[in-house]
């Protein structure tokens, strides 16, 4: 099982997609197949942390088989502490996306769920590939279903938003591919592990390597998105179907940064770290300020996401063990919280047909479950102690203070305060205050059973991840750290910081 589990995870959504393609587009049949497939795949992903061996160096569940002889591209996959929980996260968010689409996707369900499942495969592929070409393949593939679905189901300007989304990722991928090809021309390998060793040994010329590292970084920074490369984000969030918007931002770019930029080019990453820290803090403040003035809740969420993702970038490029560990943990938190908010806001939009914040008001009494869950998720996002958002933010900010980026850390903390402002204001505007024509009129049902079954476990998980983060952090520590970070010395430090923070909140 351990030898083939990653292949199973990759193939399971494709099998589901094939089934959907073969069966007729009748009622909710495609949705049920997709849900079943995603649940089975989620179970497969749970196999990874269950059988993950702590303290073992290198990658686990590794598969390395030749795929193409020349150039030697191998089907090389594996996970370490960095990717193992991200794979589980993808598995967890898939059913969430399907539940979110359950009522909002009313037509062409077949093509929607088919592409949704293909998208899942692409994302699993990104997180587990250890061959640069295979990784690049999944990276590009992840664009296609998303772009088509945005064009198909866009609210107003679908095709425009889809083109923007596609080009913003596709064009920076061009230098990325050239950089990969250059590495191959010099080293004759696409294998991540070999490349990491070769670059660390200093066998490659430093001058071109700087540009190669930059090409990697640029492609990832757009995908995160980092200020000022965020042009696609708001349009995509406000046009994409809820299930797709949930998965679009953040984790692919951030993971790639940690694995393929910091992981492959630690020296070059250190060189550009000051710039990235500055951009990250600007992004945190910029995202928070723009989120404050948005009238549409999707756009608000987009800029909020930008702020929170920038905070994670700050953690990655602080080059402290606590900071990057916290950053990885925060990716998990952030995606979960965003997913919960997306499902809830999507539920509102399905019920009231608008995403304008001003149109809402006074829903608290009418939709008690919605408001409870929304408040919990928002508080987690803001970083309330005992909820998961706090742990990641605390680790990132405290390590930034400790690493001598005091000024930047203060700026970032300010952004965290602003995020509390816009989220609480959003809650106030949507759920409290007087009802109006829209919300006071015909009564709408509260969350349906599927949404409840999805969101309550999410809320519980947020609490558990806030109270007992060591369950996750222990695994995250077992990641492949680049030599510069000096993993052995850093690990205890992370645990100490962690314990301090956990005790602090209790």
């Amino acid at each position: 099982m351990n030898d083939s589990i990653l292949t199973l995870i990759l193939l399971a959504p494709l099998v589901g997609a094939g089934l959907i393609a073969l069966l007729p587009d009748r009622g909710k049949l495609p949705a049920w197949i997709a849900l079943l497939t995603s649940l089975v795949t989620f179970l497969f992903t749970l196999h990874l942390p269950a059988h993950f061996i702590h303290g073992q160096a290198g990658f686990q569940f590794e598969i390395n088989r030749p795929w193409i002889e020349l150039p030697p591209i191998n089907y090389h996959v594996g996970v370490d502490g960095l990717s193992v929980w991200l794979v589980v996260l993808v598995g967890l968010l898939a059913p969430a996306g399907i539940v979110a689409s359950w009522n909002s996707i009313k037509e062409r369900r077949k093509i929607f769920y088919l592409l949704f499942l293909v998208q899942q495969t692409a994302m699993y592929g990104v997180f587990i590939s250890l061959d640069l070409m295979v990784y690049y393949g999944f990276w590009e593939l992840s664009l296609v279903p998303m772009a088509i679905l945005i064009a198909m189901y866009g609210r107003k300007e679908g095709a425009k938003a889809a083109t923007k989304f596609f080009l913003f990722t596709f064009i920076p991928s061009a230098p990325l591919l050239v950089a990969i090809l250059w590495l191959y021309a010099r080293t004759q390998t696409f294998n991540f592990v070999d490349l990491q060793a070769m670059i660390a040994s200093g066998a490659l010329p430093v001058g071109p390597l700087y540009w190669v590292a930059f090409a990697f970084l640029f492609a990832f920074a757009v995908k995160v998105p980092l200020f000022p490369l965020h042009g696609w984000l708001a349009d995509t969030f406000s046009e994409a179907p809820v299930a797709m918007a949930m998965v679009v931002a953040g984790k692919l770019g951030l993971y790639s940064m940690i694995r393929f930029h910091v992981g492959l080019f630690p020296a070059q990453a250190r060189q550009v770290a000051p710039l990235l820290i500055a951009l990250a803090v600007i992004g945190i403040l910029y995202g928070a300020c723009l989120a404050l003035v948005q009238r549409d809740f999707w756009r608000l969420l987009a800029f909020a996401a930008m702020g929170h993702l920038s905070l994670i970038v700050l953690g990655i490029y602080g080059f402290t063990a606590a900071g990057s560990g916290g950053a990885i943990y925060q990716i998990l938190n952030n995606e979960m919280i965003d997913a919960a908010l997306f499902v809830l806001l999507g539920a509102l939009e399905v019920r009231y047909f608008t995403s304008q914040i001003a149109a809402y008001g006074g829903l608290a009494a009418r939709l008690p479950q919605t408001v409870t869950l929304f408040v919990i998720s928002s508080l987690a996002m803001i970083g309330l102690p005992l909820l998961n958002g706090f742990v990641g933010e605390f680790l990132i900010l405290s390590s930034a203070f400790g690493a001598g980026h005091r000024g930047w850390a203060i700026g970032a903390t300010l952004g965290v305060i602003l995020s509390a402002a816009y989220m609480l204001w959003l809650i106030q505007r949507i759920f409290y205050g007087p009802t109006n024509d829209l919300t006071g009129g015909t009564s709408v049902p509260d969350l349906h059973l599927g949404e409840q079954l999805l969101l309550w476990p999410f809320a519980v998980l947020m609490l558990v991840m806030g109270v007992a983060p060591m369950l996750w952090i222990n695994t995250i520590q077992d990641r492949n750290t680049p030599t510069v970070l000096n993993g052995s010395a850093a690990a205890p430090q992370l645990s100490v910081t962690m314990k301090a923070s956990v005790e602090g909140q209790q």
Binding site: M133, V144, A151, V178, L181
Partner: protein, 508 residues
């Protein structure tokens, strides 16, 4: 000459006989009788040629024939299989998309088959006069096919334009052949290469260089590379879609094989001269093709400009040294042929033989009206964009990988950025097809509701080839590599000095 020589041109012989047979039957049938069965004969003959081409891979058949005018090597076999495959798909497509009442159908099939004789011969000829004859055979049938819709204004316009410019370009090639004969005293490719070996003291260098330039002009016209591309959009727009599916791929593959032969086999020693030229042409083609395609509203014109851009990507492979560049180029043209035949087949089904729905806006709502056609259109477009797990990706990958390996990092960067521009217009079409139809979107013609078996086979062939080239490219890649290794300069020369000097030259 001995009887065994005919084995070297077996596919050409089979195709010629098929063509003659079709002509004879066509002439002896009464006017009212349906000509569609003639298409079947053409298909059978092409399949026979395809089998004969596959058998050429066997080492037993490798060698030259007819006093050193044609040869059989894995290189020629590779291109023969490719060309016969394209022609087969084009014939299947024509069987279902040609208007049923046309009594010109017989000629159509005959012309396609005769054209493929020329294309096949073009790839196997190692004597420049045979090359010229082969090129003319293939060109003349294409000229006629381009103007096949005689009643419309655009058809004859396309044919005349293509014919005039095409003959002009062929004249350039012929003049180049004459000059190289003047410089070296022979028109046999290996003998010329032998005479040009003595770099830098090549005899009659000015003559040789002029000849190289003239021959390149002639060939680059045929592959529709900028700045020799102006005919492409008009001709593609005027010609019926089933014809464009053929003429945008098969003659290009043949011309590209000739280009590989010329630069790597005749002039390997002048690499420092032709390489920058082809660089410039590659960059110009990509940029001009992509920028012009951005502004097109007509689907076929857009695809015509995209074909120009693809010629540029293809030429990028030639920045590499001999075996890698040839292998990458051969692979690219295969992937390009698969996806281009596919997309023109889909367009032929939607727009119809008479281009009733020529505009991009007319494709709106295709996913809603015919999910199968919408899916296929999107699939081929995605391959043209160059997304992984499709043939288009590996084509670009090998081409630019060869370029980077040859030291042309900037060419690769410009090329890949260009493919970003290209994504814009491909996606515009794909997204238009994905959007909900509006009230004023013209309805799809009735023919798309029931897609014929033949055309399904053609599209299926193209789709499977495109997907297979993206997921398991190994087999074709190996074939293209063995093809590349047989296209050695001077196979019977006493020393291997020529390739050594070629690869030792610093890359510009």
């Amino acid at each position: 000459m001995n009887p065994g020589d005919s084995l070297h041109i077996l596919p050409e012989i089979i195709l010629t006989l098929t063509g003659v047979l079709i002509m004879i039957i066509d002439a002896s049938l009464a006017t009212g009788v349906a000509r569609r069965p003639l298409g079947w004969i053409a298909c059978l003959g092409t399949m026979g040629a395809l089998l004969a081409s596959v058998s050429e891979f066997s080492p037993r058949l490798t060698g030259t024939g007819f006093y050193g005018t044609v040869e059989t090597t894995p290189f020629t076999a590779f291109f023969h299989v490719l060309i016969c495959g394209i022609v087969l798909a084009a014939l299947l497509l024509a069987l279902d998309t040609l208007p049923g009442d046309s009594h010109h159908q017989g000629e159509y099939y005959a012309l396609v088959v005769f054209g493929s004789v020329g294309m096949c011969l073009l790839t196997s000829a190692v004597e420049l006069l045979v090359v010229f004859i082969a090129l003319e055979i293939s060109s003349i049938s294409t000229y006629i096919l381009a103007g096949y819709r005689k009643r419309t204004g655009r058809g004859p316009e396309a044919a005349i334009k293509y014919f005039l410019l095409g003959s002009f370009a062929t004249a350039f090639l012929l003049y180049g052949i004459a000059l190289i004969f003047g410089a070296t005293g022979t028109t046999q490719i290996y003998e010329i290469a032998h005479a040009l070996q003595a770099v830098p003291n090549v005899p009659n260098l000015p003559l040789v260089l002029t000849s190289l330039a003239l021959m390149l002009v002639g060939i680059l016209f045929k592959v529709s590379a900028a700045p020799f591309h102006v005919w492409t959009p008009d001709v593609y727009e005027g010609a019926p879609s089933p014809v464009v599916a053929l003429m945008s791929t098969a003659p290009k593959a043949a011309a590209f094989a000739l280009l590989l032969r010329v630069v790597y086999e005749i002039f390997p020693t002048l690499r420092s001269i032709w390489s920058p030229l082809l660089w410039a042409v590659a960059i110009l083609s990509m940029t001009v093709g992509n920028l012009a395609a951005l502004r097109q509203q007509n689907v076929k014109r857009m695809l015509a400009y995209s074909a120009i851009a693809h010629a540029g990507y293809l030429l990028a492979a030639l920045a590499a040294t001999a075996p890698e560049g040839i292998a990458a180029g051969a692979f690219y043209i295969t992937a390009y042929a698969a996806m281009n035949v596919g997309i023109f087949a889909v367009v032929a089904l939607i727009s119809g033989y008479d281009d009733e729905l020529p505009l991009i806006q007319d494709f709106r709502g295709l996913w809603y009206r015919s999910p199968v056609l919408g899916g296929l259109l999107t699939f081929f477009l995605i391959s043209l964009v160059g997304i992984p797990f499709t043939g288009g990706f590996f084509g670009k990958f090998y081409s630019f990988s060869a370029a980077v390996g040859g030291g042309a990092v900037w060419l690769a960067i410009i090329g890949l950025l260009n493919s970003g521009v290209a994504a814009t217009y491909y996606l515009r079409l794909a997204f238009v097809a994905a959007q909900r139809p509006t009230d004023d979107t013209p309805a799809l013609p009735a023919r798309t509701s029931s897609i014929g078996i033949m055309v399904s086979a053609a599209i299926g062939l193209a789709a499977v080839a495109t997907l297979a080239l993206g997921i398991i490219p190994g087999a074709i890649l190996n074939a293209s590599q063995s093809a590349a290794h047989t296209l050695q300069p001077l196979p019977d020369a006493p020393t291997t000095e020529a390739p050594a000097t070629a690869s030792a030259k610093p890359n510009p």
